[in-house]
């Protein structure tokens, strides 16, 4: 059974989002997504400073099995990426919601209103 923390927002394409105390938004992939992908071996992150529009392909996560695109859930600018993933992409498997975050961005918090809450995402992956 996949973990779906109640305080996060989610997308149909299995990204999660968290509003940090400093107002930045952290984004990663869900426990369900990492389990589907299997052992991760490579992550291609965007560069800090890049601006994206919601729906853009912003990042690629690769497991032994396959490459998978990560889609930008909201529009905004990347301010920080998780450098630790370059050497240890498997952190995403072991800690998808904490140490395995992908990047932080500056965006309008209002954009999160349209995303799924934990219950809706749980229902989505149960289908």
């Amino acid at each position: 059974m996949s973990e779906v923390p109640s305080e996060l927002k989610y997308t149909k394409s299995h990204e999660w989002l968290r509003i940090e105390d400093d107002g930045l938004i952290t984004i990663g992939i869900s426990d369900h997504a990492q389990a589907l992908l299997g052992d991760l071996v490579f992550v291609e992150l965007p560069e800090a400073g890049t601006e994206f529009v919601a729906g853009d392909e912003c990042c690629v996560v690769e497991s032994v099995k396959a490459a998978s695109d990560v889609y930008m859930p909201i529009s905004g600018e990347i301010v920080e990426i998780n450098e630790a993933l370059a050497d240890e992409p498997e952190i995403i498997n072991s800690s998808p919601y904490d140490n395995g975050w992908l990047f932080k961005m500056r965006a309008s918090a209002e954009e999160l209103d349209d995303l799924m809450d934990a219950d809706a995402y749980q229902a989505e992956i149960d289908e």
Partner: protein, 368 residues
Amino acid sequence: MSNKTVLFDKHVEYKGKIVDFAGWQMPVNYGSQIDEHHQVRKDAGMFDVSHMVIVDLRSGDIKGLLQKLLANDVAKLTESGKALYSCMLNPNGGVIDDLIVYYMSDSWYRVVVNAGTAEKDLAWINEHAAAFDVSVKARDDLAMIAVQGPKAREKSFAVLPVDVVEAATPLKRFFGADCGDWFVGRTGYTGEDGFEIMVPSSEAPALWDELAGAGIKPCGLGARDTLRLEAGMNLYGSDMTEETSPLVSGLGWTIAWQPEDRDFIGRSVLEAEKAEGIKQKIVGLILEERGVLRGHQKVIVAQEDLPPGGAQLEGEITSGTFSPSLQKSIALARVPVEIGDSCVVEIRGKLLRAAVVKPVFVRDGQAV
């Protein structure tokens, strides 16, 4: 349409993650594909390969039939139990399938073919069998478990029936032995030592439990793919197809050209291809930068390996993955013969450097 092997319930019980593979519901892993890979390289693992099809050829001129159907020559098989790897070609020299044939006696050969191609293989074999008066029987009543790894033999001996252990103990590599309803081949698809054990389907679930109890861990198709790729073994449908000849698929060594009058299907096309000069070959690639090589990525021959003023030459990756043993990405690629010892691979628009090596990366637990 989705088939299940007789071990399907075991895969669920052992927490296998089930995926569709060639129309079969098979476990891709039982937790971690990488752990299962290392388990086979360092210790012992087992795979359900019951989706592959065992075909018994009995009576009539079996040797004559196989000398017609196969690019390799079964005349090499003189000792009972000896196995041979071969391609079965279409009249255009394309590969219908790759297979293993065991010679048991002049009136019994056993062939093992791929799951995804079994239907067309059987149709093709049957089409030619009548002229040689050979009876063809697909053994759907048998299951097959591959136990692989440096400790696979020793660990499986602890739980296999006594008569099977007796038959399997003296087996040399690439030999098989028949023991009543069971059959054991010292063969595999991982680059490690081990057995492929064929058993009556009804006995397979109990055998699975006993092998697991002996410390031979269940491994999924995911690990099977990284293991075979590290070992430089081709995968049908990726590294060779009906559209590619063995000569450009790293399988030239499996074609028996002698005797010259053996008229196997596809021979004349291969001879013409050879006479014209072979333009491509399969090489191994090791990525020198971060990333993962995958099938269909473009391979570009280095500028210094081109003839003066020559246009850019390109090839394509046929199978690529991340190698758990080498901790680097590796691939098999079909490339122009001009390629030198390094090249460039295009991954999502970026050009990354890769070393060009012989298409074998790991054998018997050691990097080569």
